[in-house]
């Protein structure tokens, strides 16, 4: 009995792992599977096996902080905050420090379901990430979140400030991997500003930088094509672009739900153009200039 108790006791609490890197890897695997107690144990053992100054120490602390922050149920936000701050203290120049600072900002934004975030404070927290780690991916992500918070007001002046900030960001970081995100946010801003042409241009730039996960069967460009086509049609009256993207939707995604709508749109534009031509005294489009629209009603 005593041996059993000893064996059980030995299984509790942090232990020095043989290989902290392996323990961290195992911990993240447990985390992804929702086995948070096991994840905490693994990260604690990695932490116990390393010392401040060791990159693995910061990794273990960050992982531990993330688990206490985001585990459900059983989260401990105060502990998570302390651990993130410890990462910032112990390894202030590390990758984990940048991600920890971003995590602290995210904690301010992701409030309980019945609360509203304190947006000025949230924006300031994102700004801190941008100021302290300007070239880090975490800062690029912080910038995207920060600009998105301005759009939540739906005020034109805030939308204009987002447009300007994004122009500056793109000029400073022309190769940022977050370009799709920043152009998508800018597109929303132009939508609020009701600037159709610029709205369309931002959408086209976002598409240019769009990254598709080829292994995700649900991820494609169908919704983006539809969005571009409808902005071109109804905000810009740019039927050339609208037709191009409705046709791309039909051609590239023939089983997509909106294919029928795209066909209707092509016919709608043909009909309107024919009517408008008559109104303004222009000759009807020649058959060569008006190819089949791929159906209609």
């Amino acid at each position: 009995m005593a041996a059993v108790c000893l064996a059980l006791a030995a299984g509790c609490g942090p232990q020095a792992a043989g290989d902290p890197a392996e323990a961290i890897k195992a911990g993240w695997n447990s985390y992804r599977m929702g086995e948070f107690n096991q994840a905490v144990k693994a990260f604690e053992s990695a932490q116990a096996a390393t010392k401040p100054g060791d990159p693995l120490y910061a990794q273990a602390l960050y992982a531990l902080a993330t688990t206490w922050n985001l585990r459900r149920p059983g989260e401990d936000e105060a502990l998570a905050r302390r651990l993130y701050e410890k990462v910032l203290q112990e390894a202030p120049k590390s990758d984990e420090a940048a991600w920890s600072l971003l995590a602290l900002a995210r904690m301010q934004q992701l409030v309980q379901a019945d609360q509203e975030p304190d947006y000025p404070a949230v924006r300031q927290a994102y700004q801190e990430v941008i100021d302290r780690f300007p070239e880090h991916l975490a800062a690029h992500e912080a910038f995207v979140h920060q600009q998105a918070t301005w759009l939540t007001t739906l005020r034109p002046e805030d939308a204009q400030s987002v447009v300007d900030a994004i122009d500056k960001f793109v000029a400073a970081h022309p190769k940022s991997p977050f370009l799709n995100a920043v152009y998508s946010v800018q597109s929303c801003a132009y939508g609020i500003l009701k600037q159709g042409e610029k709205h369309l241009q931002a959408e086209l730039r976002a598409l240019e930088h769009r990254e598709l996960d080829p292994t995700n069967p649900n991820m494609d460009n169908a919704a983006v094509y539809w969005g571009i086509a409808s902005i071109a049609e109804f905000e810009c009256g740019d039927f050339a672009t609208a037709r191009k993207f409705y046709r791309r939707l039909i051609g590239e995604y023939p089983a997509e739900q909106r294919v029928y709508g795209a066909r209707v749109a092509l016919k709608r534009m043909d009909d309107l153009e024919a009517k408008t031509r008559k109104e303004v005294g222009l000759p009807a489009a020649t058959p060569a200039a008006a190819p089949a629209t791929g159906g209609g009603q």
Partner: protein, 593 residues
């Protein structure tokens, strides 16, 4: 001495009996287990709820085939997906045996939950939208208790060797590129879907001919109603009237989803305020609230008229009946039509065997010239092709690579075709042949869809269910009554229910944040191409599920509380400014053809 022995027996008798029974149970179980899975055999258990005819036979047949395949590959130096030789991995297991646990649908959810939490789940399990398991719980189950199928998706399926799919990556051998095995929330492939499904109308050809003189069921709406009318006027040898359409509460949903909702599509052009091509519940609510639509709106009115016209040919009290009651009526040749999915096709065929011929027809469509429905019918109902019956490999499986190999076998071109021939279902794999009965089940890839989702949850949903039920059962309860009883309530209480639903949205954001942290960690430790792929997945999820969602959510809230941002202009109408631009472009010769 005797009394001491007697005293000993009396003292320990109860314990002795318990121990004896326990010993007997242990021996029996061991003997049964040994009989079921001798020491040279890998035992794989598979749990599912498919009690339809043909399914268990199909799995047994494919299991028998796989036993041979396994033995051959074990003997012949066959390798697993990682290139390891099976025989070296399992030197003392030249045999495989597959055993089924077929559990009724009504208790399947509880069974899955207890098996998974109790750690006694079979090696492979079917999960997916059944048994009352909430979606969030199902995702947790997939994440916690099942192996990922990702290691197999980009490699050719070894069981397709010698076929035209020999070099095709596994996921691309599925008709839906394996969407049915992918969990968007986890960004992960977790299951092997084996079949596709579709819903159509089945009918008793012989009875139709006898009662109406028709050789084939009419697919034009008015002719279909006329046939139903004729059938209703006829009596069987017992003097009881025939029922044109066998139905139940379960079947009503199929009629609604595949037929009645078709006429509501034109509403999309009035209420799709964000122009995403769909009419969300928020947009429907807003449209009602600002008076853009009401139950007076002709396409909506048409839907309820169609419900009335068709459901008068359902049997009395159908809303209180269940699926089996309707099937029973059809099988007894007391009804001519029944709507159901491919999952019931084989069962209906078997029940009809030697008695009558089963025909399959599409849902009847009104003609474009139909005076009442013509203006609102723009096409058939859109059907998204997707695979179902997803089987995952549980983490309790002692031989997960062998279980995966069995699943690859079921999803091979030959295996899947054969399996679905037994099932009477549509194969999930491309370049496969299907049962002739299923010829009418090709999905409508171009079509219309519903634009009347009034489900905001909470009190308004309960009220909607009440008025709809009343409309279904009471012929004196008109669409005007339904409008009077529901519309003011919906407009008044809808916002509260919508706001309550939005709390779930915030909880969803938290869960996504949890997943993103795990994805980011994986990307940080991965190297080379894997890291790049992981970062792409991370950024795509971040963008679509967090950043834009927050903005859209706020736009949605403004729309619901204050009305659409577009004002009085319909989402698919051109503003005067845009019309000017169009004229100008035409004058400049920029017509865009």
């Amino acid at each position: 001495m005797t009394s001491r022995v007697f005293g000993f027996v009396r003292r320990w008798f109860a314990l002795g009996v318990v121990l004896a029974v326990f010993g007997w149970a242990v021996i029996t179980i061991l003997a049964m287990r040994s009989d079921e899975a001798p020491s040279d055999t890998i035992l794989l258990r598979v749990g599912h709820w498919q009690l339809e005819a043909g399914v268990r036979d199909g799995i047994n047949a494919l299991a028998a085939d796989y036993q041979e395949v396994w033995h051959k590959q074990w003997e012949g130096g066959g390798k697993n997906a990682d290139g390891q030789v099976w025989r070296e991995l399992y030197p003392d297991k030249p045999k495989v045996k597959v055993v089924q646990d077929a559990i009724p649908e009504t208790v399947y959810g509880q069974w899955v939950t207890t098996q998974l939490i109790g750690g006694t789940a079979p090696d492979m399990m079917e999960i997916g939208g059944v048994g009352g398991i909430p979606r969030t719980m199902e995702i947790q189950y997939w994440n916690r208790y099942f192996y990922s199928a990702r290691p197999y998706i980009n490699r050719p399926n070894p069981h397709n060797a010698g076929t035209e799919l020999a070099d095709v990556p596994f996921r691309l051998t599925f008709k839906d590129t394996m969407r049915g095995g992918y969990i968007e929330e986890l960004q992960e492939y977790v299951a092997f879907p084996v079949s596709q499904f579709a819903v159509r109308i089945f009918y008793n050809r012989d009875l139709l001919k006898k009662l109406t003189g028709l050789d084939k069921a009419p697919t034009e709406y008015r002719a279909f109603l006329a046939a139903c009318e004729k059938i209703q006027g006829r009596k069987n040898p017992q003097g009881k009237p025939y029922t044109p359409i066998a139905a139940s509460a379960y079947h009503f949903q199929m009629w609604e989803g595949n037929m009645f909702n078709m006429v509501t599509y034109p509403a999309l052009r009035k209420i799709d305020f964000n122009r995403d091509g769909f009419a969300g519940n928020d947009e429907v609510y807003t449209a009602f609230k600002i008076g853009r639509v009401s139950f007076d709106y002709p396409p909506y009115r048409a839907k309820f008229k169609m419900i009335r016209e068709v459901s008068q040919y359902f049997q009395n009290g159908y809303t209180g009946l269940n699926r089996d009651d309707a099937v029973f009526l059809f099988a007894q040749q007391r009804a001519v039509f029944i709507t159901t999915g491919t999952w019931d096709a084989r069962g209906l065929q078997q029940q009809a065997l030697g008695k009558f011929t089963v025909g399959v027809m599409d849902f009847p469509l009104p003609l474009p010239t139909d005076p009442e429905y013509g203006p609102y019918i723009e096409g058939p109902n859109y059907e998204r092709p997707g695979s179902g019956a997803p089987f995952g490999i549980t983490r309790f499986c002692m031989y997960p690579d062998v279980a995966a190999d069995f699943m690859l076998f079921l999803c091979s071109q030959r295996g899947n075709e054969k399996l679905n021939q037994y099932f009477g279902w549509i194969p999930a794999i491309i370049h496969t042949r299907e049962d002739p009965l299923l010829k009418g089940f090709e999905p409508h890839l171009v079509g219309v869809y519903e634009a009347i989702n009034v489900n905001l949850g909470g009190e308004t949903l309960i009220k909607w269910q009440q008025v709809l039920s009343k409309f279904q059962v009471d012929p004196n309860y008109t669409i005007d009554d339904l409008q009077r009883d529901f519309e003011p309530f919906y407009k008044d209480k809808g916002l509260k229910d919508f706001l309550e639903q939005q709390k779930d949205w915030r909880r969803g954001i938290q869960i996504t944040e949890q997943g993103l942290a795990g994805m980011r960690a994986r990307a940080l430790v991965a190297g080379g191409d894997q890291a790049q792929a992981d970062w792409i997945r991370y950024r795509a999820t971040l963008m679509n599920r967090q950043v834009l969602m927050e903005i859209w959510h706020n736009m949605q809230m403004v729309m619901v509380e204050k009305g659409p941002i577009l004002g009085d202009i319909g989402p698919y109408e051109y503003s005067p400014e845009v019309l000017d631009k169009i004229r100008e472009r035409l004058r400049q010769g920029k017509d865009g053809h």
